[in-house]
């Protein structure tokens, strides 16, 4: 689990800047394997939810065109240093991914 997600949440004034880097192939299903000439099956994260102390702060649906090893950066208000930000994600094959980090003052 440790390597699935890299997260950082930094409090700057009253806004917390959250960066998330996930480890995922984000295979589009549109690429052919050069050897077999067959399409490589789609495999991509399609849902991402972020929570602050359990409350949803971001709820995203993704398609195949989010880049490999997805990166998102978003900003939330109302968080304090020490608060917990968690990410839950799931891909189209049903695999779930999660990560969490603690808000740090800059």
């Amino acid at each position: 689990m440790a390597e699935e997600m890299k997260m950082r949440a930094t409090l700057q004034g009253d806004v917390t800047d959250v960066k998330v880097l996930m480890n995922h192939v984000m295979e589009t299903g549109l690429r052919k394997d050069p050897k077999t000439e067959k399409f490589i099956p789609a495999h991509f994260i399609d849902h991402v939810v972020a929570t602050l102390n359990g409350k949803t702060v971001l709820d995203a649906q993704w398609g195949i065109a989010v880049a490999k090893n997805p990166f998102i950066n978003f900003r939330i208000k109302g968080a304090k240093a020490g608060d917990k930000i968690a990410i839950s994600a799931a891909d189209n094959l049903g695999t779930q991914y999660s990560g969490e980090t603690i808000v740090a003052a800059k």
């Binding site: 950082r8 960066k19 880097l21 090893n69 990166f71």
Partner: protein
């Protein structure tokens, strides 16, 4: 012979152990120690060498490589009677065909409308019909320019079998339709006004540069015990201090191997001789350790030795290699990376940089490949791109090239891992 060799195993093993112990006891500083223990017998790469998965699999054995010269004789001009009657439509298609060595658009402006993001490493041919060239001249210049203009960076398209004579006749017919200067949709399309790409990304931002994870992995491997129950850290107890400048002094000539080796091969052979780990060249572990060791030298000016007799000879060989035409495309490093030739111009949408500026960030994360490449893999890709068979990692020619190009980067500050397209 094999039987005899097996008798040697034990003493060699003991000797190796002694070297490890004594090396540790004196706590050598790399660069200052005359003889760091190295394993010297086995190949440092996965042998036999097989080209990377996903790369073009074609072999170009009829053409020169960094290791061997295959003579390529300039073709005698082809005589033709009367004007060429090719098919300009077919010629246009051939000129744009990226599967035949990059297409004419890689280096020339041509076509109505001009295809997206043309290059300008060669002349603008959008009004070539008005240049007053004979059909025979155009045909021969494309077929093999070398008897006409030997120092051109053009490829001998016909003589090197990329296009047939009939196909070149179609391209000639297409060129004869090029009658008016190109018009561009915007300043980005025109290579003359397209802004020069400036790398402004913070390569040490782990959310931007995935290769930063390799620094952590390298640090972890540095402390990991190998088969000998020793880790790198067993001897190098203060790596931040010990390796503050070491990587900036690499590559260097290694007399026991009689070739120039970089950080990567040093890691493979030194680990085999000390911790017992086998970090083959191009493996993830080798890249991680090599990146970590360079990371420790970040900010230091690159400072490879250019004065020793071995290095002078290696740089002489490397300089010859920089100028060697290789592959079916018959191109030399200097064709793209010196300002007298292609550097600071565009091949299609890619900017060709000079040698200076090409080393400080390697190994580097390549966003287009989503992979970390060391300088060897970069050399190999350049080779394959000009349709020359690549050499195996650790090949002496690559060592000479790495030293020669690194010497041209002396004084630039190390900034590893980099991030590039």
């Amino acid at each position: 012979m094999p039987a005899k060799k097996s008798h040697l195993v034990l003493p060699v093993f003991l000797l190796g152990t002694l070297i490890v112990l004594s090396a540790c006891a004196t706590r050598p500083e790399p660069g200052k120690t005359k003889m760091a223990p190295l394993e010297l017998e086995k190949p440092a790469f996965a042998s036999p060498w097989v080209r990377y998965k996903g790369w073009p699999s074609e072999m170009w054995s009829d053409y020169s490589t960094v290791a061997a010269v295959v003579p390529s004789i300039p073709a005698e001009p082809i005589k033709i009677e009367g004007p060429i009657t090719g098919d300009p439509k077919k010629g246009e298609k051939l000129a744009y065909d990226r599967s035949r060595g990059g297409s004419c658009i890689a280096c020339h402006i041509m076509g109505k409308p001009v295809p997206p993001l043309p290059g300008n490493a060669g002349p603008d041919l959008s009004d070539y019909a008005s240049w007053g060239r004979s059909d025979e001249f155009i045909l021969n210049y494309i077929y093999d320019h070398r008897k006409i203009k030997p120092d051109s960076i053009m490829q001998p398209w016909g003589a090197h079998k990329l296009f047939s004579v009939d196909e070149i006749k179609d391209i000639v017919a297409f060129l004869k339709t090029q009658k008016s200067p190109a018009e561009f949709k915007d300043n980005l399309e025109n290579p003359k006004t397209r802004p020069i790409p400036v790398e402004t990304r913070d390569n040490f931002d782990p959310f931007l540069n995935e290769a930063m994870a390799a620094v952590d992995k390298g640090k972890e491997l540095f402390g990991k015990e190998g088969a000998s129950k020793k880790s790198c850290a067993s001897c190098h107890t203060n790596p931040e201090q010990t390796f503050r400048t070491w990587a900036a002094s690499m590559p260097r000539h290694e007399s026991r191997l009689n070739k120039v080796i970089g950080v990567e091969e040093f890691v493979t052979r030194h680990a085999r001789a000390t911790t017992g780990d086998d970090y083959l060249l191009q493996s993830g572990g080798n890249l991680a350790l090599s990146i970590y060791l360079r990371y420790l030298s970040n900010g230091q000016p690159i400072n490879v030795d250019t004065t020793s007799a071995e290095h002078k000879q290696a740089i002489k060989r490397g300089t010859e290699l920089l100028g060697r035409k290789i592959g079916q495309l018959h191109m030399a490093c200097v064709d793209c990376h010196t300002t007298e030739r292609g550097a600071n111009k565009w091949v299609r949408g890619q900017w060709l940089g000079e040698f200076r500026g090409q080393i400080d960030h390697f190994p580097t994360f390549r966003t287009s490949r989503s992979e970390i490449w060391d300088i060897t893999k970069r050399f190999q890709w350049c080779n394959v791109s000009v349709r020359a068979n690549e050499l195996q990692p650790g090949a002496p020619g690559y060592g000479d090239l790495e030293l020669t190009i690194t010497a041209l980067n002396n004084g630039m500050k190390l900034s590893v891992p980099g991030i590039r397209h």
